[in-house]
């Protein structure tokens, strides 16, 4: 991968550094690039631990939730100290393409801008730009592996809320690609909740059979591949849990039946915010480190 050099390829792989801050002994950086999948400029955050100075490191991909950009995670989640401790690079992309001038993209906080739902859209006017699934699973890893000291065989994925949904479906749809997976308050069964139904009908159309390919509960029922070990933390006082947007019980039921290992922790007093994520980030990175550093 590092040897390939062609002017066109180089443009695709070109990154512009937007910011760099020393953090926890390593560096928290933000880059911008021209995305071929999303056909627009995209930013993403990368944390390079101290170990990256001298050795190749495994990579954890973090997918954020509705309304987030690449900034929320790096300023609020408290990921840098544990990432430095375990020598893991953390990549956090944005949550949707931006500045595409699509009509209606800014009308809702839960659809369009900031709400890509990590799918490849098949409906107009979204299908040209809203291809977050391919962006996260194909384009971004290629870009990261070409530009940073990574071990391309050691990738893992995690996320929050809509990003938790993204992490689960990426892992379930790509058996063996991610060495570890975990989620914070994920949307477990989007086909059955208002958020998911709104997004899927907009991005994928009215034929519900096309939605199944992006629903973690449906994918788990049909999963066959290397054994997973999924860690999920969920705040018990999460308003979206009460509002039946997250539906973790559906996923747990399917995983119990299909014997997919899950440890699901209901945390009393915690809500849906980054304060909740911050509180358990250390445990999740430790969970990822166990498999990435094995």
């Amino acid at each position: 991968m590092d040897n390939v050099s062609h002017p066109f390829y180089d443009t695709l792989m070109a990154l512009t550094q937007v910011s760099s801050n020393k953090c926890a002994g390593g560096f928290q950086k933000v880059f911008e690039h021209e995305s071929s999948e999303l056909r627009c400029k995209m930013k993403f955050a990368v944390y390079l631990p101290p170990k990256a100075d001298t050795a190749k490191c495994p990579v954890m991909y973090w997918l954020s939730g509705l309304t987030c950009t690449e900034q929320n995670f790096i300023t609020k989640a408290g990921s840098q100290l544990p990432a430095a401790e375990h020598g893991i690079i953390i990549v956090a992309p944005d949550t949707s393409p931006r500045g595409c001038n699509i009509e209606g993209e800014d009308e809702n906080w839960d659809f369009g801008t900031g709400a890509g739902f990590y799918v490849d859209s098949t409906e107009d006017p979204w299908k040209t730009n809203y291809r977050m699934y391919s962006y996260v699973t194909t384009e971004l890893p290629k870009l990261i592996n070409a530009n940073f000291p990574t071990d391309p065989d050691r990738m893992s994925i995690s996320g929050h809320s809509m990003g938790g949904h993204g992490a689960l479906i990426c892992a379930l749809k790509n058996p063996g690609k991610y060495k570890a997976v975990s989620a914070f308050a994920p949307i477990c069964n989007p086909m059955q909740c208002p958020w998911g139904q709104k997004a899927f009908s907009g991005y994928l159309g009215s034929d519900r059979s096309t939605w199944e390919a992006y629903d973690a509960t449906v994918l788990a029922a049909a999963y066959s591949g290397p054994q997973l070990d999924i860690l999920i933390d969920q705040g018990r006082d999460d308003q979206f849990l009460t509002a039946s947007q997250l539906l973790p019980d559906n996923l747990i039921a399917v995983c119990s039946e299909k014997k997919i290992p899950v440890v699901f922790r209901l945390q009393p007093g915690y809500d849906h915010s980054y304060f909740f994520i911050y509180s358990f980030m250390h445990d999740h990175i430790k969970h990822h480190a166990k498999y990435l550093n094995a």
Binding site: D229, S256, P261, V263, R265, K290, A294
Partner: protein, 483 residues
């Protein structure tokens, strides 16, 4: 043809016409007759029908009247009943209103017990008992006859003092323990021949208590029985390392002047050692005791059978416990101070060394278990995890699903586990203050307690329903257990 012809024709025609007229008159008469008959018939029928319909109408009218009367009666009855109900309702409301007002009054009154004055509160049964006092004379007799004097300890003969002997006599002194009550002494003597070896004054070798020895990656705790009725000055512990081919190393390390019947020895990780003990007194050391093999791979301990709940039985090797579902007779529940009385549980031997320890427990899908650690003084009348002196992972079987709890002080986090662990790894880290549980088959982390252990702990194992549980120890901790 003349006028006569015309006249006769006219007469003929006239006759014929007259005939016709007569016929017609007759015909008309007939018609009139028929008409009259029909008219009569119709009249009669009309009358008949009129009569008939009048009858029908009359009958109808009668029935209608009857029904109307019936309905009227019924309506009257219903209205009466409703009225009575209304009356009763009104009365009930009045009564309730009165009751509420009375209650409010009582509530408002200073002395809330006033209303009781009207109630008869005398007891049906007399307070005094009629059964006479027990006859305790037997007990007194039994108490008086107890002889509380224990047997004395062996006296210690003092070393021979200078100038205490003559050619024919010898002065022998001995000391006794102040706790003892002695009635008399018996002195024995026998001549010692010159060439008799002096080892009759040497102590006997101790006996190592195999099932009371524990080990861990950095140390081993050995316990033994003195093997001597006479007091011993000290013990010497000897150890030599065993090579991987089973041969004993020629180099032996000795630890001398061990004052009691146990010793904690620092060792190297991942080796095997042969350990034996000698008793030492003034005459010299005894021969070596029988050796035991100690391995410093993983942490190794036996279960403390005297702490086990009476319903538990043990396999021969001591590492599998069974909770049978036969009812034990009350006499079998002869409980010592150390046994669990409610929770069907047993403690493992103390882990008296700081650092990291790991062991595994094998269960089957249907066993409701409690696995963890506890302080030595954890309540034997209490359930593992229900107090602040024990921590455990608990498996509960409900009709619909498997439930897992991680209990300490009666509290557990709320978690779901989708694949039921049948081989559980327990990792204890005294330094970090953590106790972690893993599904060994999946290498999956389940939960970690964060707690500062103020004292050393015992592993503990319990079951809440009949079943079996096997402890596997002396296993090196897998890498993922101590990240």
């Amino acid at each position: 043809m003349t006028f006569n012809c015309f006249q006769s024709e006219t007469v003929t025609i006239r006759n014929r016409l007259q005939g016709k007229i007569a016929e017609m008159e007759s015909f008309a008469g007939h018609l009139e007759e028929i008409f009259l008959t029909v008219e009569e018939n119709f009249g009669r029928q009309e009358q008949h029908l009129e009569q008939h319909y009048n009858d029908v109408l009359q009958t109808l009218s009668q029935r209608y009247d009857e029904r109307a009367a019936g309905l009227e009666e019924e309506k009257k009855g219903k209205l009466e009943a409703l009225y009575n109900q209304l009356l009763a309702c009104g009365q009930a409301m009045d009564a309730s209103k009165e009751l509420i007002e009375t209650a409010q009054e009582v509530y408002r009154s200073q002395d809330k017990r006033l209303f009781l004055k009207e109630i008869d509160l005398t007891l049906a049964t007399c307070l005094e008992f009629n059964t006479p006092l027990a006859d305790l004379s037997d007990v007194k007799t039994m108490m008086d006859s107890i002889n509380v004097v224990p047997a004395p300890s062996a006296p210690v003969i003092n070393p021979q003092m200078p100038n205490s002997a003559t050619q024919t006599s010898l002065r022998v002194c001995w000391s006794l323990f102040s706790d003892d009550t002695v009635e008399y002494y018996e002195l024995y003597y026998r001549p010692v021949l010159e060439d008799m070896p002096a080892d009759s004054t040497l102590p006997s070798p101790p006996v190592i208590k195999q099932r009371e020895c524990t080990s861990c990656p950095e140390a081993a705790l050995i316990r033994w029985e003195s093997g001597n009725t006479n007091p011993v000055d000290s013990y010497t512990v000897e150890l030599s390392e065993m090579g991987t081919d089973g041969t004993e190393s020629s180099v032996t390390e000795s630890i001398v002047a061990v004052p009691t019947c146990q010793c904690l020895i620092q060792l190297q990780t991942g080796r095997r050692y042969l350990i034996s003990v000698r008793a030492v007194n003034i005459g010299g050391p005894s021969v070596r005791s029988e050796a035991i093999t100690v391995s410093t791979t993983g942490t190794f301990f036996y279960l403390l059978e005297d702490s086990a709940h009476p319903c538990l039985s043990f396999s021969e090797d001591g590492f599998t416990i069974f909770y049978g579902d036969e009812e034990l007779p009350i006499s079998a529940m002869a409980l010592g101070d150390n046994t669990f009385t409610r929770c069907v549980a047993v403690l493992g031997d103390l882990i008296p060394v700081r650092g990291r320890h790991y062991w595994e427990v094998e269960v089957d899908d249907g066993t409701e278990f409690r696995i963890g650690v506890a302080y030595e003084d954890t309540g034997r009348n209490s359930y593992l995890g229900a107090n602040n002196t024990s921590w455990c992972m608990r498996h509960i079987l409900t009709p619909s699903r498997h439930k897992y709890e991680f209990l300490h002080n009666g509290w557990s986090p709320d978690l779901r586990i989708t694949v039921n662990p049948v081989r559980i790894g327990v990792a204890l880290d005294y330094e970090r203050g953590t106790l972690s549980f893993f599904n060994v088959d999946l290498e999956q982390h389940l939960h970690t307690f964060h707690c500062h252990f103020g004292n050393y702990v015992h592993p503990c194992f319990g079951m809440d329903n009949p079943g079996a549980l096997t402890v596997h120890n002396g296993i090196e901790a897998p890498e993922y257990t101590f990240i």
